[in-house]
Every structure is written in structure tokens, then in C-alpha cells.
Amino acid sequence: MLCLNNVKWKAEDGAEILKGIDFEIEPGKLTVVTGPNGSGKTSLAKVISGVEQATEGSINLDGVELIDKDITERARLGVAYAFQQPVRFKGITVRDLIELAQGSKIEEVDVCSLMSKVGLCTNDYIDREVNDSLSGGEIKRIEIATVLARNNAKVMLFDEPEAGIDLWSFNGLVEAFQELKKNKDMILIVISHQERLLEIADNIVVIADGKVRIAGPGDEILPQLMQDEKAVACPVEKENN
């Protein structure tokens, strides 16, 4: 169980971006976090993974408080995070990155199954550098693979995995998520605007203006979202009224 309690985060410039987030996420379920651009979804993912340090609140993973732990410690405790904007490296190959993610040398068969999950052909990519020569969609898939490769992961956080990915591969990705949630111990969080992902979500959390606007089972929340897109699109106005 991943429990967030009153999680706040102020950016360096002093602006309060996360304004007290509370939710609980169960393992073995797909939780989709959605909400308008700039509402704080990526900030939330960063604060969970430790890439940014929350300024207040509690983040508890299976009874372990993460809030004071740094990125490395959280990673070793099982937090895995696929960035919205993947990072490029000169001189580090796809294989290197996957092996770093997995924490050991990777066997050829495992590379193949991993790469096919993200829709890439192993032979074409495994020895390529994760540098500027990769297209946006290619690097995004490799980023996703670095999370799928994590052996010790208890929490997998994907930040807009659909972005830049073609339709064909996206179907494969949806399958990969469905596969992942069969693992009854896995806390699976996908940040997304994609209807397909919202449709298969067990739970949906809607973030707006740094707060949880609504949260609950997918089949309850999704109709509300569809019906009243404005609830999400103009959260601030609505609040002020």
C-alpha cells in the first residue's frame, strides 16, 4: 500500500505546486492519475520518487516512511519511475541502461521479451546509445523499459507513457500494464490523459491545481469525467464560484 498524507511541495521559486495530496493506492490494481496540464501530476510523481523533496506530509510505502529518504534509497526500496521527459546519455547504450535498471547483466531472452513489450526490436536497438539520435517515441519506450526491467520494483510510476508512442505499440503497452497488475504486490500508477488507459483503470485519481479533485473506482469516476469535462478543465474557476 502506498499512502500519501497531506503531501505538499513548493518549487524553488516559492510557488506551492502540490497543496496537500491525500490518497491510498492498493497493489494489484491499475491506478490512473489524470488532470489538466500543469495541475501537478509530474510534480507528484517526482515527489513520490524523491526526484523532488516534498516540503510537508507523509509518503508511506508498506509501512516505511519515504519522505526523508533520497532518490537512491527510495529506488532501492522499490520505487520505479518512468520520466515524462526521458533523459539522454552520450555513451550509454540501451543495454547498459537496462542492465543498470535491472541491477545485473541481462540475458538475451529477457532483453527480447522486455523490448517487445515496449514495441522495439531488440537487434535494432540494444546496442544503440541512448542519445539524441533516438526519436522521441523510441526514447520514450526505452524509458518505459527501464522501469519494466526493475527487479525489485514495488511501485511502478509511468508518467504519460502514451506520449509520442504510435497506436500499434500503444496497444502492446496497454497489454503490458494489464499483465503488470496481475502481480498482486505491484503498486501500479500511470499518469495519463489517454481514454484507453482511463477505461481499463481500476481506480482514477483526478488532480487539479495541486490537489486531488476526485478519486475513486474507474467505473464511477470515468463517466463523471466524460460527462463534465469542465470539472477537470477549469478546476480553479469552479472552486472560486
Binding site: 533520497d70 529506488a75 533523459v87 552520450k90 550509454i92
Partner: protein, 307 residues
Amino acid sequence: MDKITESLLKLVSDWDDDVYNGAYNIRENGGCAGRQSTDNIKIEPKEGGKGIDIYIKEGTKDEKVYIPACISKSNVEDLVYNDFHVGENADVTIVAGCGVHTDDEEGSSHNGIHRFFVGKNARVLYEEKHVGTGEGGGKRSIDPVTDCQLEEGAVLEMNTQQLSGVDHSIRTTTGKLEKNAKLIIHESILTEGDQYAKTDFEVDMVGEDSAVDLISRSVAKDDSYQEYHSKIKGESRCIGHSECDAILVGNGKVNAAPELFAGDLDASLIHEAAIGKVAGEQILKLKTLGLSDEEAEKRIIDGFLNA
């Protein structure tokens, strides 16, 4: 050959089990510690032990020649002249490494002057690693001077690496390219402590459709200082590209001064340069995979230098 030389050979070339597969010449403390020619590759000493001439027969394919030079003690000042005569249509690999070891406060230096005469349509892959080892404050210097004359259609690809422990290095490379000739240089240099390294390239593309690709990667750590100067001259329809990327760690300093000269309307010359510290987001990403700060930085730098 002493044990230190053997361990240096392992670091700078694929030396194992006391043997090289192919022609070789091992230079140890200014003398010859072993030499072998093959049917296609003849190695002949120059007068007075000042160096060697390496003759590679026309059309020689898939052979390797090793010419490592090692210094295993202090107070050696080695100056050597090596000339490579590569026959037409040959396709060979030359492995040249240099290691300098000192264990006291006295220094040693190796100064290798190499000239490449690469014949028509010949291809050469040249691999070179430099390393300094040992204790004490003695200065270990390696100052290579390389001149490349590439005839029509010749291709010379040089991969040079300065690994660590070299206190002082000035690398001077010049070249002249005839029609369709191609020179590709990948260099990587690591400096630490108060080491100094300077790279100076000057390449002249005189022949039509000749091409130069110069890629330099450097990491300057601690209080070390590196200078990079390249001058690419295009005197006909040709393509020149140089890329200088440097990472600074601690108080490292880098001065990069690339120069392009186009003497022909159809010369196409590009230079890219970037200097900065290890990108913060790269460290963050590797930390999210479970690496510590130090591990992440090391991994990024190792990859960068070996790219």
C-alpha cells in the same frame, strides 16, 4: 621485459599470454623488447635505434600490427620516430599504446613521432591508449606527434584514449587529405589532480570529396586543465565536422578553440562544442535506478569517455 612493462601492455593493448597475434614491435624504456614481422608486414629499425619503419604490403587484409611503447621507471626520456607505409588497398589495424610508470619523485616521458603514409584506397584502423601508473610525484609525460598523409580514397580511423595517470600531454596531429580520402578521429581524454593535456589538430582537405570527422570527448576533474585546438581547412569540395564535448568535475577547466577555414565555395564545415558539468537530470535518472550519486557520476563519465 619486466613485470611492470607487461602490466602496462595489458592496459594499453590486448596483450595476454605473452604474445601478440601478428606483427609487433615492443619498445621498453627506449630499447626494443621484441619484434616480429609477417609476410605482409615488415618492421625495420631505423638507424641508431631511433624508431622503426613499418611497411604494410599492398592489398594486405585483416592483419593487425602492434607497436606499444612502455616506460617502467623514472628518468627515461624516450623520443621515437615511427613511420607507417601502408600499401594500396590494404586494410589493417594498428594497435599503438603507451604506458609510463614511475614510483618516485623523478619523472619520465615518452615522445612518439608518428607519420602515416596511407596509400590509395587503403584503410587503417589505428587504436591507441595512453596510461600513467605508479606512486610518487614524478611527472609522467606522453607527447605524441602524428602526421597523416592520405592518398586518394584512403581512410584512416584513429581511436585514441588517454585513460588516467598521465600528468602532462601535448598531442599534435596534422593531416593532408587527397581526393576521396577520409580521416576519422575519436579521442577521449581524462585528466585528474593537476594534470594538463593539450590537443592540437590541423587537417587540410585538399582533395575533392575528402572528409574529416573529429570527435573529442574530455573529462577534466579536480584541478586539471585541458586545452583543445582544432583547425580544419577545406580547400575543395569537402566535408569537415568537429565536435568537442567536455565535462567538468570539481575545479576542472577546459579551453576549447575550434577553428574552421573554408577556401572553397563547396567546402562544408561544421563545428560543435559543449562544455559543462555532468547533466543533473542524468544523475537523477540513474539514481532512480538505484545508483548512488558517486556511482551515477562515474557511470556517466565512463560512458561518455568510451563512446
